[in-house]
Each structure stands twice: as C-alpha cells, then as structure tokens.
C-alpha cells in the first residue's frame, strides 16, 4: 500500500456530517462494529462548539456524536487512558500533544500500546474556549452563539455561521494582539503526529476526502480491513497533493520556530518576573495533577511540603523538583498553564528545560523511541 492515501466514508450521511468525508468516523465505526476494539476515546461537543469533552464510546451508533472537528477543545486524553482505560482494547483519536504524551506513558509501561489504535490528526493548534468567544465578538463582530463551526485554514481562523456565511481573520493579526491560538500551540513544532498508526487531515486533500499518512503496520491493516469491509474507500493522491501537504507542514513549522524564539528567548520572562510569578503560587498541585507525564503514586514534593502553609512554597523545592522530575519529558501540551489558578506561565519553563535537555542529550520528548537517558541503567 502507498504511504499516502486519500480516504472517505462510504456511508453518504457520515460523508456529509463528518469532516473531510467522515473517514475517521467510519474507521471508528468499523473498529467498534467488528469488535476489533472494546471502545473508542474521542472528543465530543458537550454543550456547544466551545465545549469539547473526552468521551469513551462502546456503542457504534454513538460514534456519530463525535463527528466533526473542534478547535476550542484544548483537551488531554493520554492520562485518561492510563488511569481508567488501560485494561481495554482502545482506539483513540489524538492531537500531536496527546500522541506525544501517549508515547511517554507507553515508554513508562503505564499501558500497552499493542492494545491501542492511535489515529492522529494534523493540528494547527487549539484555542481556549472563553477567550475564543471574546475574540469572535471583538474581531469578527459576531455573537459567538451564532457560530456553528470553526476552522484553521490558509493562515486564517475561519468561522461558519448559522446562516451559511463564512468569516475569516488572519491568525497573524489576531496573535499579534494576544488572541488566537494558545501560546503552547503557537510554538508547537509537531503539526503532524507521526508516532501514531495513521494521521489524517485536510492538508493537500481533495474536497470531501481525508489525506491520510499510513505509518505503522497496524495502520496498514486497519485501512485495508476498513476498505475490505466497506466502511471507507480510498484512492492515491497525486504527487502535487503530497507536495502541498509537505509545504504546509514546513510553513507551520517555520512559524512555530519563530514563536519559540520569541516566547522562549527574546520575550522569555526575566528572573525577577519569575520570582513574582512564584510568589503567586498557592501550592494547589494543579500543574502536577493535570500533567500527563507526572503519575508517581508517592510524590516527592508532598514530602517537602507536608504542612499547610499560608505563604507560597519555595520554587526551588516545589517547581524546581517538578522541573527535575519531568521537564526532560515535557511535551509542551500546556495543560499546566491552562489549569494554573494564578496564571503562572509554567509550561514555558518546563518546555525550555526540555529544549535544554534535548540540546545536551538529543532526547526529544514524546518522539524519541527510548526512555530519556536519565533512566538508563548502563555504564556509559
């Protein structure tokens, strides 16, 4: 089979309901209906398009609820698998950060990747739901409730309204003014998650089809079987399409690089600013608890800070210890920053530490196949 494919659902309804021909919806249905997996972990709309929540589905009929893509859903599913679903055969639809977190957890034997079908999505970034709504009011002059769909395409954040009209604003313009995608997404350098079984997306795709890169042997078998059982159909994309996709990826990577320089170097907070941030810390352990990499049953920080205190913890032994425990595996998912009640830009320091570690050892969190060199028992 060729490495690159275009696929779409053979079910007409799903084809129009889902994104780009509903391929993922149909693949998931295939997996559930033929009982290849026990369940599917995906994101679904809870109340509206700004409210994406992970959902575990065992009934093939419910798969339709997860059709379509959501950009205001900065979720993380990797730790859900290790906490609650590690005993199941599972198909999971992931953004690059989810895929990288899964990679780190699998290396730590938190669950078995053989039980897992990982379907990756090209990802240009996510938006925080509340600021996104304010942004649509301010820059689009729209009532956020009238928007039924959003999309990131051609350097714009495009919204589709109830009445069928579209409106787009350039991402650059929005992000210059401090809106747009989350900061982590702006600097994220993995746009196509290749540590998965297949990756799907619309970059380079024909209208109504999904451009798919098949990566693992499991992925090859998955596509072949889904085609054979009549859930999806496939065709080979032209060289031109492959080129367009590669080009788009390059552009996105370059942009990420620009943001990295800005956020981690030129505009990186000074030590004085960091001390101001550390003085805010309320020792809520939100960053630790949400971190997909952190999972120790007994946490060393808790030993240092057994007594409840009225004042912030010393950053050397609080954030510092966390820094030495997980920063080499930081995948820049930004969850710590998202949940910090006092707005400490945590993921900047963790990710900067991983970049340092990468420079010294070559270890890329979430991508490198082996465990970080720190774990090595070898003499070298």
């Amino acid at each position: 089979m060729s490495k690159f494919l275009e696929i779409r659902s053979k079910n007409k309804d799903i084809c129009t309901l889902g994104e780009c021909g509903g391929s993922i919806t149909s693949i998931l249905q295939y997996l559930l209906e033929t009982k290849v997996v026990d369940g599917v972990l995906n994101i679904k709309k809870y109340d509206d398009i700004y409210d994406g929540v992970p959902v575990f589905i065992t009934d093939p009929k419910e798969i339709l609820e997860t059709a379509g893509s959501l950009h205001c859903a900065p979720t993380m599913v990797a730790d859900l698998i290790s906490e609650y679903l590690d005993d199941k055969k599972l198909a999971v639809v992931v953004k690059p950060c989810d895929a990288m977190a899964i990679n780190e957890l699998v290396k730590r034997n938190r669950f078995n990747s053989e039980n897992l079908f990982i379907i990756g999505l090209n990802c240009g970034g996510t938006l925080m739901p509340e600021p996104a709504q304010r942004m649509f009011e301010l820059f689009y002059d729209l009532n956020p409730e009238d928007i039924i769909k959003e999309e990131i395409d051609k350097g714009q954040i495009i919204v589709l309204l109830k009445d069928g009209t579209e409106k787009g604003v350039k991402i650059d313009e929005l992000e210059e003014k401090g809106w747009g995608r989350r900061e982590n997404c702006q600097r994220c350098e993995v746009k196509i998650p290749r540590n998965t079984d297949i990756v799907c997306g619309n970059w380079g795709a024909t209208e109504g089809w999904t451009f798919t890169e098949v990566i693992s042997e499991k992925g090859v078998k998955l596509i072949n079987d889904a085609v054979k059982d009549g859930f999806i159909e496939s065709k080979t994309p032209s060289d031109k399409q492959i080129e367009i996709r590669a080009k788009l990826e390059k552009i996105m990577e370059k942009l990420a690089d620009k943001f990295q320089k800005k956020q981690l170097n030129t505009e990186y907070p000074s030590i004085e600013k960091w001390d101001e941030y550390w003085n805010r810390c309320i020792e809520c352990y939100g960053c630790r608890d949400v971190c997909p990499i952190c999972w120790c049953n007994e946490c060393e920080i808790e030993r240092f800070f057994e007594n409840e205190s009225l004042t912030p913890p010393d950053p050397l032994t609080f954030q510092g210890v966390r820094l030495t425990h997980m920063s080499f595996s930081c995948i820049n998912c930004g969850q710590c920053e998202d949940v910090c009640p006092v707005h400490i830009p945590l993921s900047k320091i963790y990710y900067k530490a991983q970049k340092n570690y990468r420079e010294n050892t070559g270890y890329i969190a979430g991508i490198t196949d082996e465990l970080p060199p720190l774990y090595s028992p070898e003499n070298e």
């Binding site: 509340e130 805010r280 009225l310 912030p312 009640p341 006092v342």
Partner: protein, 366 residues
C-alpha cells in the same frame, strides 16, 4: 468512563468542574475549560472535595439504641420521627439547614416548615448577614474586578478562594493597586499586595480604619472580604463603604450560602445558640453544627429527639438519635447561587445509592 459537567460545591465562587465517573463511582476530576468563571482552573480543595465528601459516607438509616447507633429501616425511622414530631408543638421543633443545599431543596424544606408552622429555622452563615436588608449597597461581580481602579482585600482570599485570587492577579497585571488586611502579616495575599495591614481584631481595625486605604476608596474600587467576626462587623464596613461609594464583594462560605439566604434566616453564632436553646426536637439538614465557630460550646445532647439528615457520619450526626442518609452533591441535580448572585444549574453525575433518599422524598414522608 464518563466525564460530566457540574458546579464545584466547595465554596461560593461557583466554579465549573468536570467529574469523571467510572462504574457508577466518581473517581476523578477533569478541567472544565469552557466555564466562564474559572476556565478550567480549580483549586486543590475544589478538586479533592469529591473525595473528601465520600469519607465516612452513610448510606442506610441509623437509630440510637442504648447509646449506640444501629442500622434501621426507613419505615421504622420515619414512624419514630413522626411520633416525636406529633408529640411536640410547632414551637418546640427547630430545623438547622446548611448553605450547601440546592435552591430546590431549600424550597422543599421551606414549604415543609411553613405547612407545619415551624418558625425556628435558619442556617449558620459564618456571620454574613442577609444582604436583602442593604439595598443601597452596590455589589461587584467578577467582571467588575477587571475594571476596578483599586482593590482592598480582607482575608487570605488568594489562598482561600483562588479563583477570585485569579481575577485579582488579572487586575494587578493591568496595573490596579491592591491593598490587603488580615490577622497575619505574612500570607500569599499580603506578599502580593502593594500594601498590607495586620490586625488583631477585625472590629478594632474597622473602628480605626486607616486613612491610607480610605483615601484610595472611590466608586470604582472594590472591597473583597471572606471573613466577618460578627454581623456587627458588616455594619461597620457598610459605613465605610457608603462614604466612598465603593463596591463590595463578599465571598461567602458554602456553595449556596447566597441562595439559601433567599429562603432562610442567616444566623450568627449567638443566634444559632439561642435557636437551639428554645427547641426540644432538632432536625439538621447536612449541617455539621459542631464544626462551626464556637461549635465546641454547643451542647446537642439535651433534645428529646435529634434527627440528622446527612450524607456522612460526622461529629454532629453521630450524636443524633436518628440519621437519615441523603444524596451527595454530585448525586443530585439542582441549582446553586454563587456569591455574586448567579444561578447555576447542574446535572447529577452518578446515581445515589438505592438505600438513600433525596431531601424531597424525606420531607414528603415527615
């Protein structure tokens, strides 16, 4: 595994939180990033409250026999309670509710009390008064914090109510000056304030209110506080506020203290003691009286009959003659009114154990 939205029941800020349930049990939390109040951020106590409230859970009715609590059936429990209710006049019966019940439950209890003519009813509001009596005060909402030009904080708000603390930081980042006052001079709030005042008595502090703060107060400034020593404190504060026309943001304890004030009289510690001294039959509804300020000095042993409607075996309910188990916050649907008066409804996350009953059912049987 199922993730569902709900409203945090730990304090009155009204944050959204997602609860994860697995096999009919709540096992974890997940950030609720779309919620306008907290955008997925929760404090430690909020995130762990689902665990804490399940401790010492009680799921079958209990009755005291020879000074020991033994399991009983709902029928027996109800008939015993109804007997003692019948043998006492309405003035001898008192009900103490808590600020953590939903508005719907409060309405049911209020109906019950009115239909029986029970007047001895109220809840401990940690000395916060009923704001209905202060019509001319202007109350701040969360959006106002952003547009304020001066914030004055009383209490360690940043640690006690971090999701208000978050908005204080947002204001601070916009250059808004922040002053604070507290019993201690070294707290996370004091460290992050431009100026901090330490006091030994809140009341004395209000009597000799520093000019430095007075001079900063104006109609666009906000006073945030989460402690009051007595209702008297509040009146003193109101005088200061009225002179400057500034707004106030009281942060109440109890997820629905604000809503409960629409139904029942808020009591301070003296009023609560007085109520308890008048009655012979006490019904508590999720009210752990012994943990309140000065709770050590309250005697709950002298009632003819003491009925605790509660979710867990705590200091108060373990003294009761009868315990009626009811559902936890995430086992019921309803609405909470948060500290700025916003009504937020939430859905049940899991089913309550079959052997417990809802407040609605319990009061319909009494």
């Amino acid at each position: 595994m199922l993730i569902k939205h709900t409203i945090c029941s730990f304090c009155s800020v009204g944050c959204g939180i997602n609860l994860i349930s697995n096999n009919g049990k709540v096992v974890g939390t997940y950030p609720y990033k779309k919620h306008p109040i907290n955008e997925g951020k929760n404090c430690l106590r909020g995130r762990s409250s689902y665990k804490d409230i399940q401790e010492n859970r009680i799921i079958v009715p209990h009755q005291k026999q020879q000074n020991k609590l033994v399991e009983s059936s709902w029928e027996d429990a109800f008939s015993l309670i109804n007997e003692s209710l019948k043998s006492h006049s309405q003035d001898e019966i008192g009900i103490v509710v808590s600020g953590e019940l939903t508005n719907e439950e409060n309405a049911i209890i209020k109906n019950f009390a009115e239909s029986r003519g029970i007047k001895n009813i109220g809840f401990y509001s940690h000395n916060f008064p009923n704001f209905k009596g202060y019509d001319d005060l202007s109350f701040a909402n969360y959006e106002d914090l952003k547009n304020a030009n001066f914030l004055f904080i009383i209490g360690n708000i940043i640690v006690d109510n971090p999701l208000i603390g978050r908005r204080v930081f947002m204001a601070k980042d916009n250059g808004v000056p922040v002053f604070s006052a507290d019993y201690s001079d070294l707290t996370t709030t004091s460290i992050n304030s431009d100026k901090h005042f330490k006091f030994f008595s809140f009341s004395d502090f209000l009597d000799e209110f520093p000019n430095e703060i007075k001079n900063e107060l104006n109609k666009d400034s906000i006073i945030i506080f989460n402690i009051l020593e007595s209702i008297d404190n509040f009146d003193k504060l109101v005088e200061i506020v009225k002179k400057s026309n500034s707004k106030i943001l009281p942060v109440l304890p109890g997820s629905n203290s604000f809503g409960t004030m629409n139904y029942f009289l808020p009591l301070d510690k003296n009023e609560l003691k007085e109520l308890l001294s008048k009655i012979k039959v006490l019904i508590t509804v999720e009210a752990d009286i012994l943990t309140y300020d000065d709770g050590d000095n309250i005697n709950l042993h002298n009632f003819d009959s003491f009925i605790a409607i509660d979710t867990s075996l705590n200091g108060t309910s373990s003294i009761a003659d009868t315990i009626l188990p009811t559902s936890l916050w995430f086992e019921k649907s309803g609405t909470f009114t948060n500290t700025v008066g916003t009504n937020q409804s939430f859905e049940k996350v899991i089913e309550a154990p079959e052997t417990t009953n809802s407040i609605e059912h319990i009061f319909s049987e009494l």
